[in-house]
Symmetry: C2
Subunit: 212 residues, 2 copies
DNA sequence: TTCGACTACTTTACAGTGTTAACTTTACGC
DNA sequence: GCGTAAAGTTAACACTGTAAAGTAGTCGAA
Protein backbone atom coordinates (compact mmCIF):
# COMPACT_ATOMS: atom_id res chain seq x y z
CA UNK A 1 0.00 0.00 0.00
CA UNK A 2 2.29 2.80 1.21
CA UNK A 3 5.34 0.92 0.06
CA UNK A 4 7.50 3.74 -1.34
CA UNK A 5 6.14 6.47 0.92
CA UNK A 6 8.85 5.62 3.45
CA UNK A 7 8.25 8.44 5.84
CA UNK A 8 10.53 8.90 8.81
CA UNK A 9 7.58 8.08 10.99
CA UNK A 10 7.42 4.60 9.55
CA UNK A 11 11.00 3.95 10.56
CA UNK A 12 10.46 5.45 14.00
CA UNK A 13 7.46 3.20 14.58
CA UNK A 14 9.40 0.17 13.48
CA UNK A 15 12.35 1.06 15.72
CA UNK A 16 10.18 1.68 18.73
CA UNK A 17 8.23 -1.51 18.09
CA UNK A 18 11.46 -3.44 18.02
CA UNK A 19 12.62 -1.79 21.22
CA UNK A 20 9.37 -2.69 22.98
CA UNK A 21 9.59 -6.19 21.62
CA UNK A 22 13.05 -6.61 23.09
CA UNK A 23 11.95 -5.19 26.41
CA UNK A 24 8.48 -6.61 26.92
CA UNK A 25 8.20 -9.42 24.42
CA UNK A 26 5.43 -10.00 21.98
CA UNK A 27 2.67 -9.80 24.53
CA UNK A 28 3.80 -6.37 25.66
CA UNK A 29 3.59 -4.92 22.19
CA UNK A 30 0.74 -2.44 22.07
CA UNK A 31 -0.12 0.23 19.56
CA UNK A 32 -0.89 3.17 21.81
CA UNK A 33 2.35 3.14 23.84
CA UNK A 34 4.34 2.87 20.63
CA UNK A 35 2.47 5.84 19.24
CA UNK A 36 2.98 7.84 22.40
CA UNK A 37 6.71 7.22 22.37
CA UNK A 38 7.01 8.04 18.72
CA UNK A 39 4.93 11.17 19.05
CA UNK A 40 1.81 10.38 17.12
CA UNK A 41 -1.55 8.78 17.72
CA UNK A 42 -2.25 5.09 17.60
CA UNK A 43 -4.31 5.42 14.46
CA UNK A 44 -1.43 7.02 12.62
CA UNK A 45 0.37 3.72 12.74
CA UNK A 46 -2.32 2.42 10.44
CA UNK A 47 -1.14 4.81 7.77
CA UNK A 48 2.03 2.73 7.49
CA UNK A 49 0.96 -0.72 8.63
CA UNK A 50 -2.42 -2.06 7.85
CA UNK A 51 -2.66 -3.94 11.12
CA UNK A 52 -0.70 -4.96 14.16
CA UNK A 53 -0.03 -8.21 12.37
CA UNK A 54 1.50 -6.35 9.47
CA UNK A 55 3.72 -4.43 11.85
CA UNK A 56 4.98 -7.65 13.35
CA UNK A 57 5.42 -9.14 9.93
CA UNK A 58 7.67 -6.22 9.08
CA UNK A 59 9.70 -7.02 12.18
CA UNK A 60 9.87 -10.65 11.11
CA UNK A 61 11.27 -9.49 7.80
CA UNK A 62 13.90 -7.47 9.63
CA UNK A 63 14.82 -10.45 11.74
CA UNK A 64 15.12 -12.68 8.70
CA UNK A 65 17.50 -10.22 7.09
CA UNK A 66 19.65 -10.09 10.19
CA UNK A 67 19.79 -13.85 10.35
CA UNK A 68 20.76 -13.91 6.72
CA UNK A 69 23.61 -11.50 7.44
CA UNK A 70 24.85 -13.54 10.36
CA UNK A 71 24.75 -16.61 8.19
CA UNK A 72 26.81 -14.90 5.55
CA UNK A 73 29.51 -13.67 7.89
CA UNK A 74 29.55 -17.08 9.57
CA UNK A 75 30.57 -18.94 6.44
CA UNK A 76 32.58 -16.12 4.95
CA UNK A 77 36.07 -17.27 4.15
CA UNK A 78 35.42 -20.82 5.28
CA UNK A 79 35.89 -23.33 2.51
CA UNK A 80 35.66 -26.79 3.91
CA UNK A 81 31.98 -27.81 3.49
CA UNK A 82 31.64 -29.52 6.84
CA UNK A 83 33.07 -26.54 8.65
CA UNK A 84 30.74 -24.25 6.75
CA UNK A 85 27.76 -26.29 7.87
CA UNK A 86 28.98 -26.37 11.45
CA UNK A 87 29.39 -22.61 11.45
CA UNK A 88 25.89 -22.16 10.05
CA UNK A 89 24.48 -24.28 12.82
CA UNK A 90 26.39 -22.36 15.42
CA UNK A 91 25.32 -19.04 13.90
CA UNK A 92 21.70 -20.12 14.02
CA UNK A 93 21.91 -20.99 17.70
CA UNK A 94 23.75 -17.78 18.51
CA UNK A 95 21.26 -15.67 16.63
CA UNK A 96 18.35 -17.18 18.51
CA UNK A 97 19.94 -16.88 21.92
CA UNK A 98 21.18 -13.35 21.34
CA UNK A 99 17.95 -12.09 19.77
CA UNK A 100 15.24 -13.98 21.59
CA UNK A 101 12.64 -11.36 20.77
CA UNK A 102 13.27 -11.67 17.06
CA UNK A 103 13.48 -15.40 17.31
CA UNK A 104 10.19 -15.54 19.13
CA UNK A 105 8.23 -13.76 16.42
CA UNK A 106 10.13 -15.46 13.63
CA UNK A 107 9.83 -19.06 14.72
CA UNK A 108 7.93 -19.43 17.96
CA UNK A 109 4.75 -17.43 17.65
CA UNK A 110 1.42 -19.21 17.66
CA UNK A 111 0.36 -20.64 14.33
CA UNK A 112 -2.52 -18.21 13.85
CA UNK A 113 -0.22 -15.27 13.39
CA UNK A 114 1.95 -17.15 10.98
CA UNK A 115 -1.02 -18.20 8.93
CA UNK A 116 -1.72 -14.55 8.34
CA UNK A 117 1.87 -13.94 7.26
CA UNK A 118 1.81 -13.56 3.49
CA UNK A 119 2.92 -16.98 2.21
CA UNK A 120 5.13 -15.66 -0.54
CA UNK A 121 6.99 -13.48 1.91
CA UNK A 122 7.49 -16.36 4.26
CA UNK A 123 8.75 -18.48 1.44
CA UNK A 124 11.25 -15.79 0.59
CA UNK A 125 12.22 -15.44 4.24
CA UNK A 126 12.74 -19.13 4.56
CA UNK A 127 15.31 -18.89 1.84
CA UNK A 128 17.64 -18.46 4.78
CA UNK A 129 17.03 -21.97 5.85
CA UNK A 130 17.79 -23.31 2.44
CA UNK A 131 21.38 -22.50 3.24
CA UNK A 132 21.30 -25.55 5.45
CA UNK A 133 20.11 -27.53 2.49
CA UNK A 134 22.73 -26.21 0.11
CA UNK A 135 25.57 -26.64 2.55
CA UNK A 136 24.51 -30.14 3.41
CA UNK A 137 24.42 -31.12 -0.21
CA UNK A 138 27.85 -29.61 -0.60
CA UNK A 139 29.16 -31.34 2.50
CA UNK A 140 27.92 -34.74 1.53
CA UNK A 141 28.50 -34.63 -2.19
CA UNK A 142 26.30 -36.46 -4.65
CA UNK A 143 27.36 -39.84 -3.32
CA UNK A 144 26.22 -39.61 0.30
CA UNK A 145 22.46 -39.73 -0.15
CA UNK A 146 21.62 -43.36 -0.36
CA UNK A 147 17.86 -43.11 -0.43
CA UNK A 148 17.65 -40.09 1.82
CA UNK A 149 15.98 -36.86 0.80
CA UNK A 150 18.30 -33.84 1.18
CA UNK A 151 15.37 -31.57 1.92
CA UNK A 152 14.21 -33.79 4.75
CA UNK A 153 17.72 -34.08 6.12
CA UNK A 154 18.38 -30.35 6.13
CA UNK A 155 14.98 -29.73 7.70
CA UNK A 156 16.00 -32.17 10.38
CA UNK A 157 19.11 -30.13 11.10
CA UNK A 158 16.94 -27.08 11.45
CA UNK A 159 14.29 -28.64 13.69
CA UNK A 160 16.98 -30.03 15.92
CA UNK A 161 18.61 -26.64 16.38
CA UNK A 162 15.25 -24.96 16.78
CA UNK A 163 14.30 -27.31 19.59
CA UNK A 164 17.29 -26.28 21.60
CA UNK A 165 16.99 -22.56 20.93
CA UNK A 166 13.28 -22.33 21.57
CA UNK A 167 13.29 -24.29 24.81
CA UNK A 168 16.22 -22.29 26.11
CA UNK A 169 14.54 -19.03 25.19
CA UNK A 170 11.29 -20.11 26.81
CA UNK A 171 13.14 -21.03 30.00
CA UNK A 172 11.89 -24.56 29.84
CA UNK A 173 15.27 -26.18 30.23
CA UNK A 174 16.31 -27.18 33.73
CA UNK A 175 18.57 -24.50 35.11
CA UNK A 176 20.96 -27.08 36.51
CA UNK A 177 22.02 -27.97 32.99
CA UNK A 178 25.18 -26.43 31.63
CA UNK A 179 23.91 -24.16 28.92
CA UNK A 180 27.04 -24.02 26.84
CA UNK A 181 27.52 -27.77 27.02
CA UNK A 182 23.99 -28.33 25.81
CA UNK A 183 24.50 -25.92 22.94
CA UNK A 184 27.68 -27.58 21.83
CA UNK A 185 26.07 -30.99 21.99
CA UNK A 186 23.11 -29.65 20.02
CA UNK A 187 25.36 -28.53 17.18
CA UNK A 188 27.12 -31.86 17.19
CA UNK A 189 23.86 -33.75 17.17
CA UNK A 190 22.40 -31.64 14.39
CA UNK A 191 25.35 -32.34 12.15
CA UNK A 192 25.62 -36.00 12.90
CA UNK A 193 23.19 -36.94 10.18
CA UNK A 194 26.15 -36.37 7.89
CA UNK A 195 27.79 -39.47 9.25
CA UNK A 196 24.64 -41.47 9.72
CA UNK A 197 25.12 -45.10 8.82
CA UNK A 198 21.34 -45.44 9.13
CA UNK A 199 21.54 -48.22 11.65
CA UNK A 200 19.46 -48.73 14.80
CA UNK A 201 16.21 -50.62 15.04
CA UNK A 202 13.43 -48.07 15.28
CA UNK A 203 9.81 -48.57 16.17
CA UNK A 204 7.03 -48.29 13.61
CA UNK A 205 4.41 -45.56 14.17
CA UNK A 206 2.21 -46.15 17.16
CA UNK A 207 -0.68 -44.04 15.93
CA UNK A 208 -1.86 -41.83 13.10
CA UNK A 209 0.03 -38.63 13.69
CA UNK A 210 0.70 -37.92 10.07
CA UNK A 211 -2.49 -36.13 9.19
CA UNK A 212 -2.91 -32.41 8.51
CA UNK B 1 -7.03 -21.84 47.08
CA UNK B 2 -10.39 -23.41 46.28
CA UNK B 3 -8.74 -26.77 45.86
CA UNK B 4 -11.29 -29.06 47.54
CA UNK B 5 -14.35 -26.94 46.74
CA UNK B 6 -14.61 -28.77 43.42
CA UNK B 7 -17.87 -27.36 42.29
CA UNK B 8 -19.39 -28.64 39.09
CA UNK B 9 -18.96 -25.18 37.68
CA UNK B 10 -15.23 -25.45 38.00
CA UNK B 11 -15.19 -28.59 35.92
CA UNK B 12 -17.56 -27.07 33.37
CA UNK B 13 -15.33 -24.04 33.00
CA UNK B 14 -12.28 -26.20 32.55
CA UNK B 15 -14.02 -28.39 29.99
CA UNK B 16 -15.28 -25.46 27.99
CA UNK B 17 -11.89 -23.76 28.17
CA UNK B 18 -10.28 -26.87 26.77
CA UNK B 19 -12.87 -27.06 24.02
CA UNK B 20 -12.24 -23.45 23.03
CA UNK B 21 -8.52 -24.03 23.21
CA UNK B 22 -8.79 -26.94 20.80
CA UNK B 23 -11.01 -25.00 18.47
CA UNK B 24 -9.55 -21.51 18.51
CA UNK B 25 -6.12 -21.91 20.02
CA UNK B 26 -4.64 -19.94 22.85
CA UNK B 27 -5.35 -16.57 21.31
CA UNK B 28 -9.06 -17.33 21.02
CA UNK B 29 -9.41 -18.12 24.69
CA UNK B 30 -11.53 -15.43 26.30
CA UNK B 31 -13.28 -15.34 29.63
CA UNK B 32 -16.68 -13.97 28.66
CA UNK B 33 -17.50 -16.49 25.92
CA UNK B 34 -16.48 -19.32 28.22
CA UNK B 35 -18.77 -17.93 30.90
CA UNK B 36 -21.64 -17.51 28.44
CA UNK B 37 -21.35 -21.09 27.26
CA UNK B 38 -21.11 -22.43 30.78
CA UNK B 39 -24.00 -20.32 31.97
CA UNK B 40 -22.44 -17.91 34.37
CA UNK B 41 -20.80 -14.51 34.30
CA UNK B 42 -17.18 -13.85 33.48
CA UNK B 43 -16.37 -12.82 37.01
CA UNK B 44 -17.64 -16.10 38.37
CA UNK B 45 -14.70 -17.78 36.75
CA UNK B 46 -12.54 -15.88 39.20
CA UNK B 47 -14.14 -17.78 42.02
CA UNK B 48 -12.36 -20.90 40.79
CA UNK B 49 -9.32 -19.55 38.99
CA UNK B 50 -7.54 -16.52 40.25
CA UNK B 51 -6.70 -15.31 36.77
CA UNK B 52 -6.74 -16.30 33.14
CA UNK B 53 -3.17 -17.45 33.63
CA UNK B 54 -4.25 -19.76 36.42
CA UNK B 55 -6.95 -21.21 34.18
CA UNK B 56 -4.39 -21.96 31.52
CA UNK B 57 -2.02 -23.37 34.09
CA UNK B 58 -4.75 -25.79 35.09
CA UNK B 59 -5.02 -26.83 31.45
CA UNK B 60 -1.26 -27.26 31.33
CA UNK B 61 -1.54 -29.58 34.31
CA UNK B 62 -4.19 -31.57 32.49
CA UNK B 63 -1.99 -31.83 29.44
CA UNK B 64 0.97 -32.96 31.49
CA UNK B 65 -1.10 -35.72 33.00
CA UNK B 66 -2.26 -36.89 29.60
CA UNK B 67 1.29 -36.95 28.34
CA UNK B 68 2.28 -38.92 31.36
CA UNK B 69 -0.43 -41.48 30.62
CA UNK B 70 0.62 -41.79 26.99
CA UNK B 71 4.19 -42.29 28.15
CA UNK B 72 3.14 -45.05 30.48
CA UNK B 73 1.09 -46.96 27.93
CA UNK B 74 3.89 -46.50 25.41
CA UNK B 75 6.49 -48.35 27.46
CA UNK B 76 4.05 -50.71 29.08
CA UNK B 77 5.10 -54.28 28.51
CA UNK B 78 8.24 -53.30 26.65
CA UNK B 79 11.38 -54.51 28.33
CA UNK B 80 14.33 -53.86 26.10
CA UNK B 81 15.69 -50.46 27.21
CA UNK B 82 16.42 -49.16 23.74
CA UNK B 83 12.96 -50.03 22.55
CA UNK B 84 11.45 -48.37 25.59
CA UNK B 85 13.32 -45.18 24.82
CA UNK B 86 12.30 -45.33 21.18
CA UNK B 87 8.68 -45.73 22.12
CA UNK B 88 8.89 -42.81 24.52
CA UNK B 89 10.26 -40.63 21.76
CA UNK B 90 7.54 -41.74 19.40
CA UNK B 91 4.88 -41.19 22.06
CA UNK B 92 6.13 -37.66 22.63
CA UNK B 93 5.92 -36.80 18.96
CA UNK B 94 2.49 -38.35 18.61
CA UNK B 95 1.18 -36.53 21.64
CA UNK B 96 2.31 -33.20 20.30
CA UNK B 97 0.95 -33.74 16.82
CA UNK B 98 -2.36 -35.11 18.02
CA UNK B 99 -2.88 -32.50 20.73
CA UNK B 100 -1.37 -29.35 19.27
CA UNK B 101 -3.45 -27.11 21.49
CA UNK B 102 -2.19 -28.79 24.64
CA UNK B 103 1.29 -28.90 23.26
CA UNK B 104 1.17 -25.22 22.49
CA UNK B 105 0.36 -24.13 26.02
CA UNK B 106 2.63 -26.75 27.56
CA UNK B 107 5.80 -26.09 25.61
CA UNK B 108 5.40 -23.34 23.06
CA UNK B 109 3.81 -20.42 24.81
CA UNK B 110 5.76 -17.20 25.24
CA UNK B 111 8.15 -17.16 28.19
CA UNK B 112 6.17 -14.57 30.14
CA UNK B 113 3.31 -16.94 30.75
CA UNK B 114 5.64 -19.69 31.82
CA UNK B 115 7.42 -17.41 34.22
CA UNK B 116 4.14 -16.95 35.99
CA UNK B 117 3.60 -20.69 36.16
CA UNK B 118 4.29 -21.73 39.74
CA UNK B 119 7.82 -23.14 39.64
CA UNK B 120 7.14 -26.06 41.91
CA UNK B 121 4.23 -27.15 39.78
CA UNK B 122 6.32 -26.92 36.66
CA UNK B 123 9.04 -28.93 38.28
CA UNK B 124 6.50 -31.57 39.11
CA UNK B 125 5.08 -31.46 35.62
CA UNK B 126 8.48 -31.83 34.10
CA UNK B 127 8.83 -35.09 35.95
CA UNK B 128 7.42 -36.47 32.73
CA UNK B 129 10.52 -35.53 30.90
CA UNK B 130 12.71 -37.23 33.42
CA UNK B 131 11.45 -40.45 31.93
CA UNK B 132 13.76 -39.69 29.05
CA UNK B 133 16.56 -39.39 31.52
CA UNK B 134 15.78 -42.59 33.35
CA UNK B 135 15.30 -44.61 30.21
CA UNK B 136 18.49 -43.30 28.71
CA UNK B 137 20.45 -44.25 31.75
CA UNK B 138 18.86 -47.67 31.60
CA UNK B 139 19.56 -48.01 27.91
CA UNK B 140 23.19 -47.07 28.17
CA UNK B 141 24.06 -48.68 31.44
CA UNK B 142 26.66 -47.24 33.78
CA UNK B 143 29.46 -47.84 31.31
CA UNK B 144 28.34 -45.73 28.37
CA UNK B 145 28.82 -42.26 29.78
CA UNK B 146 32.45 -41.47 29.15
CA UNK B 147 32.48 -37.90 30.34
CA UNK B 148 28.98 -37.09 29.20
CA UNK B 149 26.29 -35.83 31.53
CA UNK B 150 23.11 -37.96 31.41
CA UNK B 151 20.94 -34.97 32.18
CA UNK B 152 22.36 -33.03 29.28
CA UNK B 153 22.00 -35.98 26.96
CA UNK B 154 18.39 -36.65 27.83
CA UNK B 155 17.59 -32.97 27.51
CA UNK B 156 19.11 -33.15 24.09
CA UNK B 157 16.73 -35.92 23.14
CA UNK B 158 13.87 -33.80 24.31
CA UNK B 159 14.93 -30.58 22.53
CA UNK B 160 15.44 -32.51 19.36
CA UNK B 161 11.95 -33.96 19.44
CA UNK B 162 10.48 -30.65 20.49
CA UNK B 163 12.02 -28.90 17.51
CA UNK B 164 10.25 -31.21 15.13
CA UNK B 165 6.90 -31.14 16.90
CA UNK B 166 6.78 -27.41 17.41
CA UNK B 167 7.75 -26.48 13.88
CA UNK B 168 5.26 -28.92 12.44
CA UNK B 169 2.51 -27.61 14.69
CA UNK B 170 3.33 -24.03 13.79
CA UNK B 171 3.19 -24.87 10.11
CA UNK B 172 6.72 -23.69 9.58
CA UNK B 173 7.92 -26.78 7.80
CA UNK B 174 7.82 -26.76 4.04
CA UNK B 175 4.70 -28.58 2.90
CA UNK B 176 6.62 -30.42 0.22
CA UNK B 177 8.37 -32.45 2.90
CA UNK B 178 7.03 -35.87 3.71
CA UNK B 179 5.70 -35.46 7.19
CA UNK B 180 5.93 -39.07 8.27
CA UNK B 181 9.43 -39.43 6.89
CA UNK B 182 10.55 -36.39 8.83
CA UNK B 183 9.02 -37.73 12.01
CA UNK B 184 10.69 -41.07 11.65
CA UNK B 185 14.03 -39.45 10.98
CA UNK B 186 13.49 -37.21 14.01
CA UNK B 187 13.06 -40.19 16.30
CA UNK B 188 16.12 -41.82 14.85
CA UNK B 189 18.15 -38.67 15.23
CA UNK B 190 17.02 -38.11 18.79
CA UNK B 191 18.11 -41.56 19.82
CA UNK B 192 21.39 -41.57 18.03
CA UNK B 193 23.22 -40.03 20.95
CA UNK B 194 23.08 -43.53 22.36
CA UNK B 195 25.56 -44.65 19.76
CA UNK B 196 27.58 -41.49 19.63
CA UNK B 197 31.28 -42.14 19.32
CA UNK B 198 31.74 -38.43 19.98
CA UNK B 199 33.70 -37.86 16.83
CA UNK B 200 33.51 -34.96 14.37
CA UNK B 201 35.51 -31.76 14.52
CA UNK B 202 33.21 -29.07 15.82
CA UNK B 203 33.71 -25.33 15.87
CA UNK B 204 34.36 -23.41 19.07
CA UNK B 205 31.77 -20.78 20.03
CA UNK B 206 31.67 -17.78 17.73
CA UNK B 207 30.20 -15.39 20.26
CA UNK B 208 28.95 -15.09 23.82
CA UNK B 209 25.59 -16.78 23.66
CA UNK B 210 25.85 -18.48 27.00
CA UNK B 211 24.62 -15.68 29.22
CA UNK B 212 21.26 -15.53 30.99
C1' DT C 1 -39.22 -18.04 63.56
C1' DT C 2 -35.87 -14.89 63.15
C1' DC C 3 -31.24 -13.40 63.08
C1' DG C 4 -26.87 -13.65 61.64
C1' DA C 5 -23.13 -15.66 58.87
C1' DC C 6 -21.37 -17.84 55.03
C1' DT C 7 -21.34 -19.26 50.21
C1' DA C 8 -22.20 -18.63 45.42
C1' DC C 9 -22.93 -15.64 42.22
C1' DT C 10 -24.05 -11.06 39.71
C1' DT C 11 -23.77 -6.17 38.59
C1' DT C 12 -21.10 -2.45 37.75
C1' DA C 13 -17.13 -0.35 36.56
C1' DC C 14 -12.25 0.56 35.08
C1' DA C 15 -8.48 0.76 32.24
C1' DG C 16 -6.83 -1.26 28.54
C1' DT C 17 -6.90 -3.47 23.58
C1' DG C 18 -7.04 -3.31 18.03
C1' DT C 19 -9.43 -0.97 14.63
C1' DT C 20 -12.74 2.05 11.70
C1' DA C 21 -14.83 6.28 9.98
C1' DA C 22 -15.01 10.92 9.84
C1' DC C 23 -12.80 15.15 10.55
C1' DT C 24 -8.87 18.49 10.46
C1' DT C 25 -4.54 20.29 9.38
C1' DT C 26 -0.56 20.86 6.43
C1' DA C 27 1.82 21.25 2.08
C1' DC C 28 2.06 21.90 -2.86
C1' DG C 29 1.01 22.84 -7.78
C1' DC C 30 -1.60 26.02 -10.67
C1' DG D 1 -5.17 32.60 -3.35
C1' DC D 2 -7.56 28.18 -4.52
C1' DG D 3 -8.22 23.27 -5.00
C1' DT D 4 -6.47 19.09 -4.03
C1' DA D 5 -4.22 15.54 -1.96
C1' DA D 6 -1.48 13.70 1.76
C1' DA D 7 -0.68 13.21 6.73
C1' DG D 8 -2.45 13.03 11.03
C1' DT D 9 -6.13 13.63 14.54
C1' DT D 10 -10.47 12.85 17.29
C1' DA D 11 -14.21 10.07 18.50
C1' DA D 12 -16.12 5.90 18.70
C1' DC D 13 -16.97 0.68 18.69
C1' DA D 14 -16.66 -3.70 20.39
C1' DC D 15 -13.82 -6.16 22.77
C1' DT D 16 -10.38 -7.68 26.66
C1' DG D 17 -8.98 -9.15 31.82
C1' DT D 18 -10.12 -8.01 36.28
C1' DA D 19 -11.40 -5.55 41.03
C1' DA D 20 -15.05 -3.99 44.15
C1' DA D 21 -19.31 -3.95 45.76
C1' DG D 22 -23.76 -5.81 46.02
C1' DT D 23 -27.33 -9.69 46.19
C1' DA D 24 -29.76 -14.05 46.57
C1' DG D 25 -29.86 -18.51 48.87
C1' DT D 26 -28.73 -21.71 52.48
C1' DC D 27 -27.76 -23.29 57.02
C1' DG D 28 -27.25 -23.31 62.06
C1' DA D 29 -28.18 -21.43 66.38
C1' DA D 30 -31.10 -18.52 69.66
Amino acid sequence: MSRPSSSELRRAILDEARRVLVENGYMGLSMRPIAREVGCTATSIYLYFESKDALIHALIDEGMERLQEQFQTAVDGVDEPRRRLARLARAYLDFGLENPEYYEIMFMLHPQLMERYPPDRYRRARRNLEMFHDEMVAALGPAGWDGRDPKTESTLVWTSLHGTVSLLIAHRVDVSIDREALIERAVRQALRSLDDPDNAAIEPPQSDAARN
